[in-house]
């Protein structure tokens, strides 16, 4: 294994890792926003809104994320959307993971015991008050771990912006494989950094989950 080479090029990977982290954070935030909206829409009492949300989930989970990125980045200009690769990638990935998060969040809300809503409504609280004060606080505690699974996939999913030349970890690995012909070493450099990012985030999720447990 060519460790000298690895020592020489790793700074590029560190910089690329920083971009991967940025992509992950922004994608995650957008995904959570879409996921929350989507979950609320899926649970709406108005059938058309429910249908729109279900279609959103079906389309974005049923087609490859890579194609979604290409549609936005390459196809966008045709309908007046001109984004740079970083923005297009982030938005496409964010909306994509939002579809998965919609189901995660909705699942958590549904899993709150029916009796909780019944007790709350019986006291005279409205649907909105019940959701805000009784259901969502309990659902939020339950959705941390499954959202962690979504986030894990999201971090690895940021690699999909490499084909549109965003200079993140996978793109950097590809670039250096091309110039050094050392795929194993470059895989290791990128791979280890991905795993560090995933590990740190994973620990954060675990901590959040612990803190959220009710006394």
């Amino acid at each position: 294994m060519d460790t000298d080479l690895m020592i020489r090029v790793y700074p590029f990977f560190i910089e690329a890792a920083y971009v991967t982290v940025q992509l992950s954070v922004l994608t995650c935030l957008l995904g959570l926003a879409c996921g929350t909206l989507g979950a609320m829409a899926r649970l709406s009492r108005l059938a058309p809104i429910r249908w729109i949300a279900a279609t959103y989930v079906s389309l974005f989970r049923g087609t490859p994320a890579l194609i979604q990125i290409f549609i936005l980045y390459f196809g966008g200009p045709q309908i007046g959307i001109n984004l740079d690769s970083f923005a297009a990638g982030t938005i496409a990935l964010g909306v994509n993971i939002g579809a998965y998060m919609t189901e995660t969040i909705r699942g958590a809300i549904i899993s709150v015991d029916r009796g909780q809503a019944e007790a709350s409504r019986t006291l005279g609280m409205s649907r909105a008050q019940t959701m805000r004060k009784v259901i969502l606080p309990q659902a939020a505690r339950m959705m941390i771990r499954p959202l962690g699974v979504n986030i894990n996939a999201l971090i690895k999913g940021t690699a999909l912006v490499a084909p549109i030349s965003v200079i993140e970890l996978t793109y950097t690995a590809q670039r250096f494989i091309g110039s050094t012909y050392k795929p194993f070493e470059m895989f290791l450099l990128a791979g280890i950094l991905y795993m560090i990012i995933i590990y740190v985030v994973g620990q954060g999720i675990k901590w959040l989950d612990r803190r959220a447990q009710i006394v």
């Binding site: 015991d113 009796g115 909780q116 019944e118 007790a119 709350s120 409504r121 019986t122 006291l123 005279g124 609280m125 409205s126 649907r127 008050q129 004060k133 009784v134 606080p137 309990q138 505690r141 009710i214 006394v215």
Partner: protein, 258 residues
């Protein structure tokens, strides 16, 4: 504590209540009235519709047809969505309900469980709400548990807190849906005591229960339901000792010989 106004209008008036879940008829044309301060027990086999009837009173499971009136106000009025919601939320403040599985809010401690609705719906200040919570807890004998979380309470304690939570809204009537069915036998008595105390304070109560002894000792009236109809009703002495209907006799025989 008895308010003797409007004694000609029945306090609770259920007219021709019917409820179907799809093809299944759960309630078949039930009419009954409850006077203020009355304590009514509803007994019967599972599937008889007794819980469904109770839950129809506060629109948890709205009737398919028929009317429910509380003190001259129709509870199950047909209104456009938004008005209906406002109306129902308002009326429910006057009806307290206690569930078989307590349904305490696990993410809130006892104090917050009790003060949540009064603060949100009646605009009570935190100080006033806290005082109210302390009063209600003292009423059910659990003052020292005010800052504890529900997971730390026994079943009987949870149910007493649930009763305190319902009472904090100063309801006109209390509905009990098999309040002690999920409790271990040793814990049933403490809840029954609280319910007896409420009865002595002349709270109007409708109690769905399996406990014949308790029903006999507390209630003014007993209704026996079977397959969606009220088969027989009367004072406890009559129903339990001298029932008229065959079905009532069969049910009691099976139940009391256990």
């Amino acid at each position: 504590m008895i308010d003797t106004t409007k004694s000609d209008t029945p306090f609770i008036d259920i007219r021709h209540a019917a409820k179907s879940f799809g093809a299944l008829e759960v309630l078949k044309d039930i009419s009954l009235t409850v006077e203020r301060g009355q304590i009514v027990a509803i007994i019967g086999p599972s599937g008889s519709g007794k819980s469904t009837l109770l839950r129809a009173i506060n629109e948890l499971d709205p009737l398919s047809s028929g009317e429910v009136w509380l003190e001259g106000v129709q509870i199950n009025k047909k209104l456009p969505y938004r008005q209906y919601e406002k109306h129902v939320n308002q009326v429910r403040q006057d009806i307290g309900m206690v569930f078989q599985h307590f349904n305490l809010f696990p993410h809130l401690n006892v104090r917050d469980n009790i003060t949540l609705a009064p603060k949100m719906l009646k605009g009570l200040s935190t100080a006033a709400a806290n005082k109210l919570a302390e009063e209600q807890l003292a009423h059910v004998g659990l003052s020292e548990k005010i800052d504890v979380f529900p997971s730390r309470l026994s079943g009987g304690q949870k149910q007493r807190v649930a009763i305190a939570r319902a009472l904090a809204m100063k309801p006109k009537v209390m509905l009990f849906d098999e309040a002690t069915s999920a409790l271990d036998p040793e814990l049933v008595e403490e809840v029954n005591l609280v319910m007896k105390q409420l009865a002595e304070e002349h709270m109007t109560m409708i109690i769905v229960t399996h406990e014949m002894d308790f029903a006999a000792s507390v209630c003014d009236r007993v209704l026996f339901m079977d397959q969606g109809v009220v088969v027989e009703e009367g004072p406890p002495e009559v129903i339990f000792q001298n029932p008229k209907e065959e079905r009532t006799k069969n049910f009691l025989r099976k139940h009391l010989s256990r």
